[in-house]
């Protein structure tokens, strides 16, 4: 038997439904949602791991895992098909004594203690599958080791007026955290938790077991485990991250993050040969851009046919945009067709959608009262009949 160990392994919490993404996560987990033309949300944490030298990732799934399982597969697109380590999909499983679903984030990791022990790690990195960002976790691990920390939480400085929307870390001058407040009304700091934790495994193991034994605990990292470590005087540090980071848990934020790709000032740049974001590839030919088309400030992925006008938009793999179509400020997810004469503005069209002819979806903000405007969304696999009008903010 091979006896080896890993210094640090990652656990990716990918079990959530992401119900605020509505129809986009109706039949698949949030980390499987398409992003940026050819990616899925999970590509970001997985690529970050690989680019940070972490080659062992346990992916905890629970809600509608089919799509995610198929997508991750053997982990080969990310170089995570390793003999020892690599990507592992870990759904809840039946045990001889007690079988249950993942009750909370901490419980999900608790149930997978045997998986973690298999690698005898010194550190465990806990990630979630709802953020778009590029981060070298090895720098955070260096910080964790340097501070002799029990738990290190990555934080991002957000504008003070937005701080009440986040989990806020109140820190001492040396970066240690003395208090954690979830969405405080009167924030004392603007250091927002990014939902990325590094634990020393011995410490985490002990607290997971203790948390499991605590009656009434909601088995959550943010609510239970970290406050417990803090309460015992454990060393919890905030690791300051600088760079682009966005929670894409809502329709609006998912749309905004896609639009950030088109804005050079946003700080979101996926074009970096030294830090590539990897994705599963679907063997599509080059895109055909027809005479009479016009593409303005947009990204177009592979396998598309573009005959209409595309402006400030993201067109994903294998989409067809027919003649006399106008796509503006929108995200078109993979394998979707927009037929002749249709207009799609400020919308998200899910995967495998067919938009009939002369359909009108969404509209510009300035023509609608502020409380009625929003991003229009068409869910996966839907077909919209010819001449249909879908108002802004409408979700089908």
């Amino acid at each position: 038997m091979l006896r080896k160990s890993k210094e640090c392994i990652a656990i990716l919490l990918a079990g959530g439904q992401g119900s605020r993404l509505m129809v986009l996560t109706e039949d698949m987990a949030k980390p499987a949602v398409a992003f940026g033309g050819k990616y899925r949300i999970i590509d970001f944490p997985l690529s970050n791991c690989v680019n940070s030298g972490i080659d062992t990732v346990g992916i905890l799934t629970q809600y509608q895992p089919l799509e995610l399982n198929a997508y991750v597969g053997t982990g080969r697109p990310w170089g995570l098909n390793r003999n020892f380590g690599g990507a592992h999909i870990l759904p809840p499983y039946a045990k001889s004594s007690k079988s249950e679903w993942y009750k909370g984030t901490a419980n999900a990791v608790y149930q997978n203690i045997p998986f973690i022990e298999n690698y005898d790690p010194e550190y465990v990195l806990i990630l979630s599958g709802d953020h778009i960002y590029k981060m070298d976790y090895s720098k955070m691990l260096d910080f964790h080791k340097e501070k002799g920390s029990d738990c290190t939480i990555a934080v991002l400085e957000v504008p003070m007026e937005e701080a009440s929307r986040f989990g806020i870390m109140n820190t001492n001058p040396d970066g240690s955290i003395y208090e954690f407040e979830e969405k405080p009304k009167n924030p004392k700091s603007n250091k927002a938790s990014m939902g990325i934790y590094i634990f020393s495994w011995k410490v985490l193991r002990e607290y997971l077991i203790r948390d499991e034994a605590t009656e009434g605990s909601s088995n959550d990292f943010g609510k239970n485990v970290i406050p417990a470590i803090l309460g015992d005087g454990g060393k919890v540090y905030a690791y300051p991250f600088e760079g682009y980071w966005k929670d894409v848990g809502t329709i609006k934020s998912l749309w905004e993050a896609n639009m950030d790709l088109l804005d050079p000032a946003s700080g979101l740049n996926l074009r970096d040969p030294k830090f590539k974001i990897y994705a599963r590839n679907y063997a599509q030919p080059s895109s055909y851009i027809a005479d009479g088309s016009k593409i303005v400030n947009s990204y177009v992925a592979e396998g598309c046919t573009i005959r209409g006008r595309v402006e400030n938009s993201i067109i994903s793999t294998a989409c067809t945009i027919e003649e006399d179509v106008v796509i503006k400020g929108s995200v078109i997810m993979p394998n979707t067709t927009v037929k002749k004469g249709s207009v799609v503005k400020f919308s998200i069209l899910g995967e495998n959608v067919t938009i009939g002819r002369n359909v009108h979806i969404g509209g510009e903000k300035e023509y609608y009262p502020e409380d009625t405007w929003g991003i229009a969304v068409i869910g996966k696999n839907k077909t919209i009949a010819d001449n249909t009008v879908v108002a802004p903010n409408e979700i089908l």
Binding site: N281, S287, G292, S298, V300
Partner: protein
């Protein structure tokens, strides 16, 4: 699948001039994101073939790099998989001169692989073919060798490596390196199916006699002397024949305008696989206009493009006009350039304001890695 594949990667290298100076013909880029070999390799994979030998001669660095572990074609198999067959691996002390000798390099592979039948294929003819059907037809026909053919029009200017004369469904005559003299003449696609045992015997005998030309020394000769029977299997889909720089150039541009060809070649049920490069999607700036182009991923386009093929990771600066051209992977073109009827090989740098104009029949070629 009781069929193994053998691909010839270096044949006809000399026909493509500087484009094959540093690569095999099999690794010639085509259609925006492919190499020639992707088509035949994907066809074999999609047909259920799991053992493939690729015969190489020289310059196969780029081919090895492209194929890697062959996982993209799903050919990273426990049993079988892709075998790159270099000349030295066969113990040959000299480089081969023809397909028969090239096959000699494939002997260890052919002897070891368990399949009873073998399909031999060139890599310059591109199509989307199902070899499973061809094998069924071969077995049913009871012939020794099945030539996969298309129908050619009479054209004295175009020579084919093997032209067949048929009478009542039977092969009556074969001519080598000869044009089709009548319309609807069956001509070889450079793909042959036969029993493996037969190949081994024939190759051994021919090489021993210093004969190396598969079509002339084996097929034609053996047919005339009655040693083998010949059958044909007609392929009716689109076929792209690349036999010179001019046809290669025209075929790339034809892929843009011929939608039916694209649909047939890139059949969604039988995709053509290639090496994954993890490029970002292509970006089109507000200043760009793109009309009738094939664009791969990772490009950044600020200029005006017309009827051109852009491979991955190409940069086109503002005010640059590109017409009827092939721009290969990683090439960077500055601002205010004018490029027409040109082939810019990989990683070329074109400074701002440069004009490169070729003719439709003789495109201007810039070699790999050059700066203009």
């Amino acid at each position: 699948m009781n069929l193994a594949g053998v691909i010839f990667s270096n044949l006809y290298d000399e026909r493509f001039g500087v484009l094959t100076q540093n690569r095999t013909v099999a690794s010639l880029p085509f259609g925006g994101r492919y190499r020639f070999v992707d088509f035949v390799l994907s066809n074999m994979s999609n047909s259920g073939i799991t053992s493939v030998g690729i015969v190489t001669k020289h310059n196969y660095g780029s081919l090895m790099d492209h194929i890697g572990s062959s996982a993209e074609w799903d050919l990273n198999r426990k049993n079988g998989g892709v075998h790159l067959l270099a000349p030295f691996a066969s113990g040959m002390s000299y480089v081969y001169q023809g397909k028969l000798e090239a096959l000699f390099s494939a002997f260890p592979f052919l002897e070891k692989t368990p399949e009873d039948y073998v399909v031999l294929s060139d890599s310059t003819i591109l199509c989307n073919i199902n070899y499973e059907e061809a094998l069924e037809a071969h077995i049913k026909s009871g012939k020794d060798v099945t030539v996969i053919v298309t129908r050619a029009k009479a054209n004295p200017a175009v020579k084919h490596e093997l032209v067949l004369t048929m009478q009542e469904g039977e092969v009556k005559d074969v001519t080598v390196d000869y044009p089709a003299t009548a319309d609807d003449t069956p001509v070889s696609m450079g793909m042959y199916i036969m029993e493996k045992k037969k190949i081994l015997d024939v190759v051994r005998e021919c090489v021993a006699r210093g004969r190396h030309h598969l079509e002339r020394d084996f097929i034609q000769d053996s047919f005339y002397s009655g040693k083998i029977t010949l059958g044909v299997h007609e392929f009716t889909g689109h076929v792209i024949r690349n036999d010179s720089i001019a046809t290669y150039f025209a075929n790339n541009l034809d892929l843009i305008t011929n939608e039916e060809l694209r649909r047939d070649l890139f059949n969604r049920a039988r995709p053509i696989y290639t090496k994954v490069r993890d490029e970002v999607p292509s970006f089109y700036s507000p200043q760009s206009t793109v009309a009738d182009c094939l664009i791969a991923d990772g490009c950044r386009i600020h200029g005006d493009l017309e009827k051109s093929v852009l491979f991955r990771d190409v940069y086109v600066g503002r005010g640059t006009v590109i017409k009827n051209s092939i721009i290969m992977q990683g090439t960077k073109i500055g601002e205010g350039c004018y490029i027409e009827n040109a082939i810019l090989d990989k990683n070329v740098t074109v400074s701002s304001g440069v004009k490169l104009i070729g003719a439709a029949t003789a495109p201007c070629i810039v070699e790999k890695g050059e700066t203009v």
